[in-house]
């Protein structure tokens, strides 16, 4: 696909996440610089398994609509495509439909006519049985082999697309591409690869821009602009007061990557070991020497989440130094009395429910890894209970309630009253989830696991 005479391709990335917001000038400046495509990521697994497991977006519709309105206007005005990856946070089919509905509303409101492609990436467990049995699904570290029951347990499974389904939709005339789960880089790489740019500079540029301004000296200020050509790429921030430096750009390869030199994409591996970062001036950086090793076997990574139970939370707080001087002793007494009371009242043993007692202000965040043992001034006591259903989790948390209110220190001969921050004391958190898939499928073709629906032009 790489062609010798292809013109450079410029990518406008307004922010690291659709709905995170960006200054309006970010867009006007990117368009003035000659953007050929606008790309933005709409999702991530960073915030945990809930968003995939429940198939719910992390961002609010109003924030997504605010960003999309500006992006659609700009793309339509300049006659360039807009690509959104991992729609609706997790990239489930619900997520794609959610963003598509917002887009349809905005196009109507703005009187714009654009051809919208939706690319679905959700997978049914039943459809993954065949590749599993054929030995075409492999674990990625640190997980082990996959069994069929784990697939069945997942409430949602998505496959991470590479650039290919997006490029195919663009070739078919899509002006707006709303992709389900995609690699963080695929949405920014797709158009440049389609236009014949070489894979090394393209994937490297896509990785650098994927978090928007994160690769600049002022990550809070707007997006970035990258121009990819035959030999490398050039990157600059869209905020004129911010700068890209060789250090700020190179350092972004470290961000959220286990390995800073090699990054696997469905189609192969980006290799930046020999990349050279050079300052062109005070705010633009040139990158050359990035390579891409095409894989013999194209692979598609799976993500899946399952329900682990239902949680109820209770939270109280302690300020009395007489308790805080031995907060570990207080917590030990809590464990003993609480589990006894649960057994007495509900007849439950530890196999039938689980809980975590966290001492915020003392060592809740790092627990036994915490290097400090300084006495705290105040402590928030969080009790998180998990059980097989919501009512049971709440029943267990309610058994703890008198203790969260009155449990004394071990050497107290009276009952203190502790500080609940509100009423009621218990908060039902609903289903709790965990990620259970980190596996790659040997794909038959780069697009076979994805389904593209091409919408009609909206009439103005």
């Amino acid at each position: 696909m790489t062609s010798e005479n292809a013109d450079p391709v410029s990518i406008l990335v307004p922010s690291g996440m659709l709905g995170a917001g960006f200054p309006e000038e970010t867009i006007t400046r990117g368009i003035a610089l000659g953007a050929d495509v606008i790309a933005v990521d709409g999702g991530s697994t960073d915030s945990g398994p809930y968003y995939l497991g429940a198939s719910k977006p992390k961002t609010t519709a109003a924030a997504v609509a605010r960003d999309l309105r500006l992006l659609l206007r700009a793309a339509a005005g300049a006659g360039i495509p807009l690509i959104v990856g991992s729609c609706g946070t997790s990239g489930t089919d619900d997520g794609v439909d959610w963003v598509a509905e917002i887009v349809a509303g905005l196009l109507a409101e703005e009187g714009l006519s654009m051809k919208v492609a939706r690319i679905y990436s959700e997978q049914r467990a039943a459809d993954l049985k065949e590749p599993l049995e054929a030995g075409r699904i492999h674990p990625l570290p640190p997980l082990g082999d996959l069994d069929g029951a784990t697939l069945e347990d997942c409430t949602h499974i998505v496959a991470m697309m590479g650039h290919e389904p997006i490029a195919e939709a663009l070739s078919a005339g899509a002006q707006v591409v709303l992709a389900g789960r995609a690699t963080d880089t695929a949405n920014a790489a797709a158009y440049a690869l389609l236009k014949g740019m070489p894979a090394g500079p393209t994937w490297h540029a896509a990785k650098i821009v994927e978090c928007g301004g994160q690769c600049t000296t002022n990550p809070r200020m707007g997006g970035v602009f990258a121009t990819i050509d035959r030999a490398g790429f050039t990157i600059e921030p869209l905020d004129e007061s911010a700068a890209c430096t060789p250090i700020s750009v190179a350092a972004h390869m470290l961000y959220e990557t286990a390995n800073p030199y090699l990054m696997r994409e469905p189609d192969g591996t980006l290799d930046v070991r020999d990349a050279v970062y050079t300052a062109l001036d005070e705010r633009r950086v040139r990158v050359e020497g990035s390579r891409f090793h095409h894989a013999e076997q194209h692979t598609i990574k799976l993500e899946g989440a399952r329900i682990t139970g239902y949680e109820t939370m209770s939270f109280s707080a302690i300020r009395d130094p007489l308790i805080l001087k031995d907060i570990e002793g207080w917590a030990s007494l809590m464990h003993v009395v609480f589990t006894q009371r649960v057994e007495q009242t509900l007849g439950l043993t530890m196999e039938e429910y689980d809980y975590d007692l966290r001492l915020y202000g003392y060592n809740a965040v790092l627990s036994e890894l915490d290097p400090s043992t300084d006495p705290p001034r105040e402590v928030g006591v969080m009790l998180l209970v998990r059980a097989t259903d919501q009512a049971l989790a709440t029943a267990v948390a309610k058994v703890a309630n008198p203790l969260m209110l009155h449990l004394p220190a071990q050497d107290m001969d009276y009952l203190p009253s502790l500080a609940f921050p509100g009423s009621p004391a218990e908060v039902e958190r609903g289903a709790a989830y965990e990620f259970v898939l980190n596996h790659a499928v040997d794909s038959l073709t780069p697009t076979a696991m994805f389904r593209t629906e091409m919408g009609e032009m909206h009439d103005a």
Partner: protein, 105 residues
């Protein structure tokens, strides 16, 4: 004289999830001298990291990057992200034990 920590010699020490199953952290050292200390394998190696974070030393990866004065450390997270006993979903506060590591005097 008060003890000097890795954090004292760094412009930034940070940690973050790298996908749902890995934690990664970086020491951005202030200068080449700070980097020399942080990158010294006789001071900071896989076993020391394993001790700080109670993980298998065989699972710890360390990348020493002199061009950036950076030492980067990655290991699989011991507690499943977002599960009952995970108290740091984005693993964004896990750099603290590393930052507070006292450097050899």
């Amino acid at each position: 004289m008060p003890e000097t920590t890795l954090g004292d010699l760094a412009t930034e020490v940070r940690s973050k999830n790298a996908g749902p199953f890995w934690i990664t952290m970086e020491l951005f050292m202030r200068d080449a001298e700070g980097y020399r200390i942080a990158a010294d394998e006789t001071f900071l190696d896989e076993d020391v990291v394993a001790g700080l974070y109670r993980v298998d030393p065989g699972s710890v990866q360390i990348f020493r990057i002199p061009s950036l004065n950076v030492v980067k450390i990655s290991y699989p997270r011991a507690v499943s992200q977002g599960s009952l006993r995970d108290r740091d979903t984005h693993a964004g506060q896990h750099h603290v034990p590393l930052a507070q590591l006292v450097v050899p005097s």
